[in-house]
Symmetry: C2
Subunit: 455 residues, 2 copies
């Protein structure tokens, strides 16, 4: 790809600007789940729109949804014969609690030993900046030879509740030859990877109501049931101490790994996993390696639980209610709809008559697989190998990117995952960071990909 | 008891003052578990000390402990041949959360339909005022014929951590013929009762630590264990869905109810309990009536649980840690020490190697039984019958009053429970209240008791 040289040199000369832009965007606390950050959400969206306008994008707009706007814009100057890429991304970020576990302010980006620490650095403001800079580098040198449409949402971290409707309502506008989705990463700073499989997700909140009010545990202990204990029993009944999920029929639709699938997964040792997770010991279902469990097996996790008195000291209260948030990662061919049926069946059978209850579904997404023989994956593989000097691994992602399945089903558009996070970036946790050298290499990889990709 | 007439008339003439005094004391938010209320604790202690001085008490002092002071004072003018009563009470109160379930400010006492609503109204500032007013009424009329020592602590709602040490250190000072403990109540506004049995308590907090930080449930789901789910499994394993407590040997020391014990318990219907608890359905171990379970069977309750993300919406986090507070009410001849051994054995067997953990013991107290044939109980029975016009029931209390067992063991002083709360006073919960007519009758009952009690 000799014609990429000028653009790559441009990108290398402008690394300080990449860092400055990223710091600027990261200083906006665009937490989508918290209503008090509504204005920050708008500021982050405007920030992206402004960048797009500077790159000559047309029809740039903050398109409203029920909650947070989608930033849309297009650059079609490569002409009707060039491929059109739909860049998907999100400008929203996760909450930052527990705040006291951060070593620096999550919204005052700080560069330490080559890593930029801030909420959203890796997930995924850094990735957005990488694509914006690759486009700029080509525009400023050899020229950008593909068309672009941007669809940057603000609700990814709350499960993209408006996105499917948005895509449905804008089928023609969003039509493209390929979606570039940068909400992903590679395996290690010296090991490029292309994500070719994604787990699905279904996320619930269960609320149990026992008595009218909190009661004194002396007066009423032994008289009434305890919602916190009922919740504990319900959760314990969903997954056993060997890591086996107990919901009825949960594994029925799981496609078992073929020997080929197993061989395609990266070779990550248990020591590697232990260190990345900061765990005393690993844990999971028998019969699968840790990497298999992380990438290609379904999960059940409790994400949050709250009941009764949780302050310092003691209060002899018998709580009136209990709440738990829990979610399941899904693999082909599980569906959120089937899993919800299974969960409802379990709850109906096991919630005692002492409780009233409600179940909220916060989000759901199908699992997705990407065809490794496609032009997109093959072109990306070459771009990675030229940049890193070694071939990319075809990896599966433990996480969920709901839009991949939506675009496939609604627009018939395939996705290429092209992002440059690392497994230890602590996304969603304290001290999230982006490894900057990897991001700079990412910009070069995108430049090479854009220069070579043809339909 | 004809000589009580003048004092009772005095008390009746001064009911407005009883109400005003109580409102004044209730407006001090003396929450002992919250450090930010340290000054309010001191204000409440000073309020009591001031009242005692006005009643001619000598040696009135706020005696310091590791946390909150004990208010001490003595009135010994009845002379060395008269009995000396040790009045035990506490001036501290429970926290008020969930605040949004209160119909009025918990620290702005409000009288509605004969009930005074405020935190601490029934537990137990109302009861303290009743005893203070009975003493005043006798002093102002026929004369007080017993000596008094007051020991009013500020740590009862956090399990009286300093009290045993205080009693040990002040054995001579506190010596008395009988302890009057007003931290109790009667059965209904038209049914007087004398508490002759109390459950013990042991209250723990378990903390589980899994990974170094919160992790992304997509990246690490299936890789590591989930502290929230481990906690759920541990709690679920301590009590089954039939209400049977599963800790090893938990029931070994439980004295089974005799037919006489069963007959002594008040006859309270399940409908009565359901209404008092505001419960959809009652719940408890098989083989015992609801009243038996409430008064004379041991319990296990989760008082609080917290892990992960508990805000609005969703966060796909795999929590690093989980916390639960749980407690057990004990009956004769269970001991907190044996139960703790049983709990530790269970935890050591069941906490997986994926977790580090710590167990905090917030408080513990032995169960206690009171001799119904004593002069004190018999005198109180007559005082109740004269005031209410019907005999008092000998009742057992589901709650715990640790000081009863301490005074018995350390000072060899028996206790008479003499308080005027009602079962639906919502102590420890929102909308705590004191039924004022019952409190006024309580003052009369105390006057009659003090006039007649002799060793």
């Amino acid at each position: 790809m000799p014609e990429s040289t000028a653009a790559i040199e441009y990108a290398q000369d402008h690394q300080a600007e990449i860092l400055a832009d990223l710091k600027d965007l990261l200083s906006i606390p665009s937490i989508s789940t918290l209503p008090e950050h509504k204005e920050d959400i708008t500021r982050a969206a405007e920030w992206i729109a402004d960048k797009m306008r500077r790159l000559g994008f047309k029809n740039v707009a903050l398109m409203p949804t029920a909650r947070h706007p989608v930033v849309y814009g297009e650059w079609l100057q490569a002409g009707p014969d060039a491929p059109t890429l739909l860049l998907y991304g999100h400008y929203d970020v996760q909450p930052v609690d527990p705040l006291d576990e951060w070593d620096s302010d999550p919204f005052k980006p700080e560069l330490r030993e080559g890593n930029l620490f801030a909420r959203g650095a890796s997930d995924m403001k850094g990735q957005l900046i990488a694509h914006l800079k690759a486009i700029e580098a080509l525009q400023q040198t050899s020229g950008l030879k593909v068309n672009f449409k941007f669809m940057i949402e603000g609700e990814e971290e709350i499960g993209s509740p408006s996105l499917e409707g948005f895509i449905q309502a804008n089928k023609e506008l969003l039509q493209a030859d390929l979606c570039l989705n940068s909400d992903s990463g590679i395996l290690a700073e010296d090991q490029p990877a292309i994500t070719v499989g994604l787990r699905g997700l279904t996320y619930f909140e269960l609320r149990l109501h026992g008595q009218r009010t909190d009661l004194h545990s002396g007066t009423f202990g032994g008289v009434v049931d305890n919602p916190a204990l009922v919740m504990a029993r319900l959760l314990a009944g969903m997954k056993d101490e060997h890591g086996h999920i107990l919901l009825p029929g949960f594994y029925d639709d799981v496609r078992e790994l073929t020997p080929h699938d197993r061989k395609m997964l990266p070779d990550l040792s248990d020591e590697w996993w232990k260190e990345k997770a900061g765990a005393k010991a690993l844990f999971g279902e028998a019969g699968y390696s840790t990497t298999e469990r992380a990438r290609s097996r379904p999960t059940f996790d409790v994400n949050g639980i709250l009941s009764g008195f949780t302050g310092e000291g003691s209060k002899t209260v018998l709580p009136a209610r209990a709440m738990a948030k829990f979610s399941m990662r899904l693999v082909p061919d599980q569906t959120p709809a089937n899993i919800k049926q299974s969960l409802l069946k379990y709850l109906e059978q096991h919630i005692p008559e002492t409780m009233t209850w409600e179940l909220l579904e916060h989000s759901h997404a199908n699992p997705a697989m990407i065809d490794t023989s496609s032009t997109a994956v093959q072109t990306a593989a070459r771009a990675f190998e030229e940049t890193w000097g070694k071939p990319a691994i075809y990896d599966r992602l433990g996480g969920t990117v709901p839009v991949v399945d939506m675009l496939q089903h609604v627009l018939d558009v395939d996705t290429l995952m092209l992002g440059f996070g690392l497994p230890d970036d602590n996304i969603h946790g304290p001290n999230e960071k982006q490894h900057m050298a990897t991001l700079y290499r990412g910009v070069e990889t995108v430049i090479r990909f854009l220069n070579e990709y043809r339909i």
